[in-house]
Subunit: 220 residues, 2 copies
Amino acid sequence: MGVNLTHSMQDYLKTIYMLTADHTRVPTTRIAQTLNVQPASVTSMIKKLADCHLVDHQSYHGVALTESGRSAALEMIRHHRLLETYLSTALGYDWADVHEEADRLEHYISEEFEDRIASLLGNPLYDPHGDPIPGRDGVLPPTPRLCLLDVPAPATVVIRRVDSSQRDALVFLSTRGITIGATCTVVQKASSYVVIDLAPTSKTIRLPNAIGQRIFVDRV
Amino acid sequence: MGVNLTHSMQDYLKTIYMLTADHTRVPTTRIAQTLNVQPASVTSMIKKLADCHLVDHQSYHGVALTESGRSAALEMIRHHRLLETYLSTALGYDWADVHEEADRLEHYISEEFEDRIASLLGNPLYDPHGDPIPGRDGVLPPTPRLCLLDVPAPATVVIRRVDSSQRDALVFLSTRGITIGATCTVVQKASSYVVIDLAPTSKTIRLPNAIGQRIFVDRV
DNA sequence: GGTTAATTTTAGAGATGTCTAAATTCGTAG
DNA sequence: CTACGAATTTAGACATCTCTAAAATTAACC
């Protein structure tokens, strides 16, 4: 805790956290790409973050979050995902539109605001895309990881998570009535698409692999 | 509306609008006082606002909003007061706590967010302190101006507005159950205080003039 | 009307976070 | 094991918004 973080510092920490999924250390260039910023800008910001002991920077060998950097990142992610959930549940936003609004607001809400929307929502564990919401203590619920494309053909599954990084895909899915928690049956698997039956209506939907790839499920 | 306004420009425009109530032109120093900034900083920001045709600046003779400056200020005030209303009504904030949160968020909510909370609240005309909320068209409902202290002793009134600029006074009033829309009877007027009976419970409250001065009512 | 006190503006500097261009370092391919 | 290309950092500049200190203007008093 301790340090006051600027908007930019928070963005960098969040980005580094997101990019740390598989890599131990994140190369400068990836941060630059993600934030639409020049690599030189990343270097100078990383210096500042390292001065505050939020990241560990080894010159020419990438960057990793320290424990307090990770906490700060998770706090931003908690804000972001709680806001997304709130915008969706309480204000009726489409799940394709929540990201942009949450990305702006996450830096400016108070702990009181965070607590109030969290308890109003019943302290949810997942956001509208199925991404896990860190607790105030920084603990993340498990991330649904079973890809729809990896389920063999005749099977019933519940949709648990959708990759939220591609707005187009979110629009595609929401216009077809696909939501988190929906039950569906995988009817047919072809080389370039999957056919599913959506539970309540038995509506049949053909999903291109590019989309199916971004859907994660639980088997029932 | 043409120009993209920075957070700071919005703050200056809002402040100038607020200070324009009685003065035609606002002196630099008052802006500086209000924003907790040095007069020199005000001059340089005002130059920028004048370059964008948001204010009319005559050197050494103060500043006034142009029509588009006024619009921008009213849009910020609309955001602010809608947020205050939303925080109070939907999230259960005490009316003493809404200002600080709204002041941060007002710069970052989208038009969609504005529209959604406005219609969820039923397009309210007044915020939790009774201050008028400008419409999307910039039209302000009338401001309740009859001061409680100007009402002769035996009279029944409805509380319509409370000066929100002094947090202490807001806390004083809310702990005593005084709210906008409450009916009360002015029982006794002394030189330094007023005694009122609060309607639902007939609870008797003695208000120092410093407080009564900040309460505005309608006669019934 | 001239002097003075208060207000306002100018001038120049600092902090933040970005950029471009040039220099440095790394890793690997030959 | 050297040299090249890619990744990264350094150096220096720019934009924004603030500050302090000094200069300019105003208004008002005698």
